[in-house]
Amino acid sequence: MNLARILPFVSTIVMLAFTVSVFRRWLERRKAHFLFWSIGLAMFGAGSFAEAYFAVAGWSPLVFFIWYLFGAALNAGWIGHGSLLLFARKRWAHVVTVLLIAGSLFAGYLMLSVMPLLDASTFDRALPISEQYRTIMPSVSEGATVRLSTPFFNIYGLVTLVGMAIWSAWLFLRKQVLPNRVLGNVLIATGALSIGLASTLTRLGVGAYLYLGELIAALLMYAGFVMAGAPAPQTEASSVTETAAAD
């Protein structure tokens, strides 16, 4: 079994653990950013699982739908939107949330419309799907307009996820507080950039590093999330209960 088959499996396991951690955090605190992060991470994990499936079981149109829509197009936008919710004013956040959901549904519709045009006759399960999807999917001019949507979601995800992580790290660094937050955000930004870089290379025709980029991204972002959320010494626990006068 070569690396192209192993890496997506490992990424899927890491992303599953990461998604469960974030989703449990949402269940505990009911903060919207945890929900968007967990949905985006689940999409990321679904994309990794699809790659693993292709390597082991071969072609499946449904799995290709999942791989492209969730793994290549939407996940970065949804993860990044979670970061935006941490900082943006509520009214603007609601507007962007509506745009993201509407855009995702539209991308889903475009993906559905391109499914009958797929040509899997050249599919080779020995090759990563990222290296051969261009021959399976038609070009934009031939009807695969969904391919035009991926840069929008990925630019949005990159700006919000990496931008907010760098900004948070810089704020804590400037205040000289919470070193775990500084390092955690640096790891998150580095992880997100690694998948951004690998995705860009794939877009430019070099798909060989996508799986490695995904695994590095999964490991670094998970480590960053754990480190940033880790309780610091003494009273720096993640949550405390205080009493406040009401009424």
Partner: protein
């Protein structure tokens, strides 16, 4: 009537409340080369990489970079 109020100390909004409770372990040493020299450079490098990736993605979007 008194009711409990949950304060999320991991949320940026609650950051100012943390200042008065800050233990020494949560502070960055002012003379640490890692934090005062290395990390600002790393953050700057990450920001530059982000901008480069955004430019490349925008280039793909507007058709300057071949779309494959």
């Amino acid at each position: 009537m008194v009711k409990p109020k949950v304060v999320d100390r991991n949320h940026p909004k609650d950051e100012p409340q943390r200042a008065s409770l800050k233990p020494s372990g949560s502070r960055i040493q002012g003379d640490s080369i890692f934090y005062t020299r290395l990390l600002p450079v790393v953050l700057g490098a990450l920001a530059v990489m982000t901008v480069v990736l955004i430019i490349v993605a925008a280039g793909v979007l507007v058709g300057v970079i071949p779309f494959r």
